[in-house]
């Protein structure tokens, strides 16, 4: 009785703040959005102690008059929406009217502001949700918001704040995103009296990209463009040889807003399918403009999640635009010297260098594990290529290497044959070799599987979970032993050795993507065949992967054994193009 109470607004705001304002970076994001909505041309961010002590954001935007200022800390007050219909036509970054009340609920905050041209400015304070009175004061044109002692009254949140560098890295991410999307706004970020960023306005987004990520990347970016009736996509994507160990350089902006969207991420990874090594991610900067009525941004308080009216159309647009751009870039000759250098540099930079340097052919494994302890730096120093004795014609000091093959653009192998020459697609060739090897292993029951010492748990969404369980018997046949482990989680107990360079968890997580509906309808045989296909494809070397001579040699050795089967990779793409000497002679008009 009398136990159910309506919460006082201060408590409501504290709860709402919990969703929206989870760390200093969230405050920075919300306040910059407001400044942008106010038409600011310059936004200065000043922080102390990673934003934990002080966040101050000043803009030269429209400012607010005393009347509006009195309202801003009240919940759901916004100047940007007035009716529910407006929700379907959002042209501003903010619209929920939640940010300022939420921030005010968990900090000491103060706004000083002056409308352009007004004689005097106004000031308001809020202390942990207690709103003060508006006072007249002198102030520069625009708005200045100061947020102090964030989370002083929510000890749990406060405890969850990370170290200053961590909070700073979140905040830099936020600023980077805005800066990329709004090149003509001047942004500065200062921390404890040090300048972290100073980004004067520029004409083009690409200039900001260069500023953040360097000239090398900028030089190689491919621009993408598509205009449809309700949808425009423009931006830049990096060719596959420029890639990253994580997806952090995938920027998607929608109507001026940084968003995360699984469908678009999927389209990106599909566009680069087969072009990247496992665990490597493309670099993309995509700017989408969609008619506001076609997208719902009111999905989550932070507004980074959106719902498209027609998701699959967006998916297809992005996929085809990216594919086009990537294909075009492949056709034209590229300067191989430069990409190679970057590739090498990047290699040296990742912790899992061992993985990238991994030799496919670890026959003499005692040789190549030694390098593990040597420094990971010095990426430009080339690793000596092991040579077979027969290939060395030793003439005192001169070593002449007689090669019958070489790698082209890190993607193709050119082979001299007695009859002429072959051009071979390294990924397709390796894939077909593995495909037959896996099949042979299955038929002769000689496919080793590694038992896991610590079984790996994979949490799946319900759809994937049920799908994976439904093909459990077939998975077991190909060497992947899984078990149900609580709701929506499976446990990997063993994994085929042939996939030892793959991450089992990711393999399982991606299974539904890799399977088409037809594949499942084909029954037991069809499913196993599809699994073998997927395994061969994922375990095979990728296009763009540099091979050393020994690796090429071993690959070519194996090629001899598979020609008997077929010339095509399991997808039906050719592995080899042959040119006879006769043909070459004819082309050069020697015959």
């Amino acid at each position: 009785m009398g136990k159910v109470k309506i919460l006082p607004p201060s408590v409501i705001n504290k709860i709402a703040a919990g969703e929206l304002i989870d760390r200093p970076a969230a405050v920075v994001k919300e306040l910059i959005e407001n400044s942008i909505d106010a038409g600011a041309k310059r936004i200065d961010v000043y922080l102390e102690d990673g934003g934990r002590k002080l966040i101050r954001i000043s803009d030269d935007g429209s400012g607010m008059d005393a009347e509006d200022l009195a309202l801003v800390f009240k919940s759901h007050t916004t100047s940007k929406l007035s009716s529910a219909e407006d929700l379907f036509a959002i042209h501003t970054l903010g619209f929920r009217g939640e940010a300022l009340p939420s921030i005010g609920a968990v900090s000491y905050a103060r706004i000083t502001t002056r409308v352009k041209g007004a004689i005097s400015g106004a000031e308001i304070k809020i202390e942990g949700g207690r709103i003060g009175k508006v006072k007249e004061c002198g102030a520069p044109e625009g708005t200045q918001i100061e947020v102090q002692e964030l989370f002083f009254n929510t000890p749990v949140r406060k405890k969850f704040m990370k170290t200053v560098p961590t909070e700073m890295s979140y905040i830099s991410d936020v600023l980077t995103r805005f800066a990329l999307c709004y090149p003509n706004i001047h942004f500065t970020l200062r921390h404890n009296n040090r300048t972290v960023f100073n980004l004067p306005p520029v004409q083009e987004i690409i200039e900001r990209i260069e500023g953040f990520f360097g000239n090398e990347l900028k030089k190689h970016l491919l621009s993408v463009f598509l205009r449809e009736e309700l949808f425009t996509l423009r931006g830049f994507v990096a060719p596959p040889f420029l890639n990253k160990a994580n997806a952090r350089l995938q920027f998607i902006f929608l109507n001026g807003r940084y968003i995360k969207d699984t469908a678009i991420y999927r389209a990106i990874s599909e566009a680069y399918q087969g072009k990247l090594m496992n665990k490597r991610y493309p670099i993309v900067f995509l700017f989408l403009t969609v008619k506001p009525s076609e997208v719902d941004v009111n999905v989550h308080p932070t507004k980074t999640e959106v719902r498209f009216r027609n998701k699959s159309v967006v998916f297809n647009y992005v996929l085809s635009t990216l594919k086009d751009a990537l294909n075009k870039s492949q056709a034209k000759p590229i300067d191989i010297a430069a990409p190679e250098k970057i590739f090498q540099r990047d290699k040296a930079n990742i912790t899992s260098a061992a993985y990238n340097n991994r030799s496919l052919w670890e026959q003499f494994s005692f040789e190549n594990t030694e390098e593990k302890t040597s420094g990971t730096h010095n990426g430009t120093k080339s690793v000596p290529v092991p040579l077979k004795k027969e290939e060395l014609l030793v003439d005192k000091d001169v070593v002449v290497i007689k090669k019958r093959y070489f790698q082209l653009h890190n993607t193709f192998i050119v082979e001299e044959t007695n009859e002429g020459m072959n051009i071979i697609d390294q990924h397709a060739l390796h894939e077909i070799i593995l495909y037959h090897e896996i099949l042979k292993g299955l038929q002769s029951s000689q496919s080793p599987r590694q038992r896991l010492l610590i079984p790996e748990l994979v949490e799946l969404n319900p759809k994937d979970f049920f799908f994976v369980l439904s093909i459990r018997a077939q998975l077991e046949d190909v060497g992947i032993e899984i078990e149900e482990f609580g709701s929506n989680t499976v446990m990997i107990r063993s994994f085929p050795q042939i996939l030892k360079h793959l991450n089992g968890k990711e393999f399982i997580e991606n299974l539904t993507h890799d399977f088409g509906e037809e594949d499942c309808r084909k029954g037991n045989e069809g499913i196993i065949n599809k699994l073998v296909n997927i395994m061969a494809c994922k375990a095979a070397i990728k296009a763009g992967q540099k091979l050393d001579y020994q690796e090429i040699d071993t690959l070519m050795e194996k090629k001899k054994n598979i020609n008997a089967y077929t010339n095509n990779c399991p997808h039906g793409r050719p592995t080899t193009l042959s040119f006879s000497l006769d043909e070459l002679y004819k082309h050069f008009k020697r015959k």
Partner: protein
């Protein structure tokens, strides 16, 4: 400010610091090594934002205060060329630095040292002590087992646990697990633990070869610190909880043998000559007084190799990945190895004493 130092000292110190510098940093300033002089001490600092290293440069003379951020690889090249020179003087003025030695000088433009990123070190309060060389050797004993494909997960790091007078390091890729234990000096009797990135620890191996002597080690909530007389290494920890390694160490494996490490190493290595590239399997058989290793590969052939082993239990056969065995044997420096085996599906235990342990799962090979 100005310092005077020998070519070797500068080259050694600078290349140590430079080796942590990322080659493609977002911010140019990160691609540099900071040189700073305060209170007549010269210090080099470099970071990739995950690992930070500070190194006190041995100098012959050191005057003034100030600093500069020097481009890592360029400057490193210069010092490498001059590493044989008896004396190099480094003069830092506004925005640039002049390196002078026998036969010439360089003027190198640098960045403002005040802009160099700082890492706050509030996190760590307690420290224990251990000889740097021992620590480097511990890393060697577990780093090989760490996963190279589970980037960012706890299995891409090495778990470090300190309690009482021992430090334990654990590395695992989920198929196998390596443990090493060593004594430490723990005057405050503190207990602490964390997961450090392999990158930090392999760098540490390099660091301790330059900065010999006792290291203080402290683990906080998000950082691990290694502090020596000549410098320090600070690294961000990997977030997450490492499984209790003791749970996976088999306790009831009843087939126990002791073998000579070199002998075993040599036959496993030889047997792996005739394994397939994709299929890394050897058969491991125990019979009265003997350990036999057998391997076979399609289109290659077979190998059967044996060594003496004190064994009088029932005949036993199982299959393992030879690389896992080799990794352990190569990292070990003991003369003999103890192997404890259980049933066919049980984990096998390879150890030297009780301080260096490797547990691996067999391979199913029907």
């Amino acid at each position: 400010m100005k310092i005077l130092s020998s070519g070797t000292a500068l080259h050694k110190g600078f290349s140590l610091a430079a080796s942590i510098v990322p080659s493609s940093a977002m911010k140019q300033i990160l691609q540099g090594v900071k040189l700073e002089v305060t209170n007549n001490l010269a210090e080099l600092t470099a970071t990739d934002l995950e690992v930070l290293v500070k190194y006190r440069l041995p100098t012959k003379a050191c005057e003034g205060e100030g600093g500069i951020v020097l481009p890592a690889s360029r400057t490193n090249n210069i010092f490498r060329e001059w590493s044989g020179n008896e004396e190099i003087s480094v003069l830092v003025e506004e925005g640039h630095c002049t390196l002078q030695s026998k036969g010439g000088q360089f003027k190198i433009l640098g960045d403002d040292h005040l802009q160099f990123p700082k890492i706050s070190k509030t996190d760590v309060t307690d420290f224990v002590e251990i000889d740097g060389e021992i620590l480097g050797n511990m890393v060697e004993k577990v780093a090989y087992a760490v996963s190279s494909i589970k980037a960012l997960s706890i299995y891409s790091g090495i778990a470090i646990k300190i309690s009482g007078d021992t430090m334990i390091m654990v590395g695992s890729d989920m198929n196998r697990l390596a443990v090493v234990k060593r004594k430490i000096h723990n005057p405050g009797n503190v207990t602490m633990s964390g997961i450090a990135a392999v990158k930090c620890l392999t760098f540490l191996q390099r660091f301790v070869s330059e900065c010999k002597g006792i290291l203080k080690v402290g683990i906080g909530e998000s950082q691990i610190h290694f502090i020596g007389e000549k410098g320090e290494v600070i690294s961000q920890l990997i977030e997450g909880k490492y499984p209790n390694y003791e749970d996976v160490i088999p306790k009831n494996n009843d087939k126990k043998i002791e073998v000579n490490r070199n002998e075993l190493l040599s036959i496993v290595r030889m047997a792996s000559f005739v394994t397939n590239e994709e299929y890394r399997v050897i058969e491991f058989s125990l019979t009265q007084g003997k350990l036999t290793i057998f391997s076979t590969a399609a289109n290659v052939g077979e190998a059967s190799l044996e060594i003496d082993a004190q064994y009088d239990g029932p005949d036993y056969t199982n299959t393992f990945n030879p690389d896992y065995i080799l990794d352990f044997l190569k990292a070990s420096d003991s003369e003999t190895i103890t192997i404890e085996l259980g049933e066919v599906n049980d984990a096998a235990l390879f150890r030297t004493g009780h301080e260096e342990i490797n547990v691996m799962m067999p391979v199913d090979w029907k």
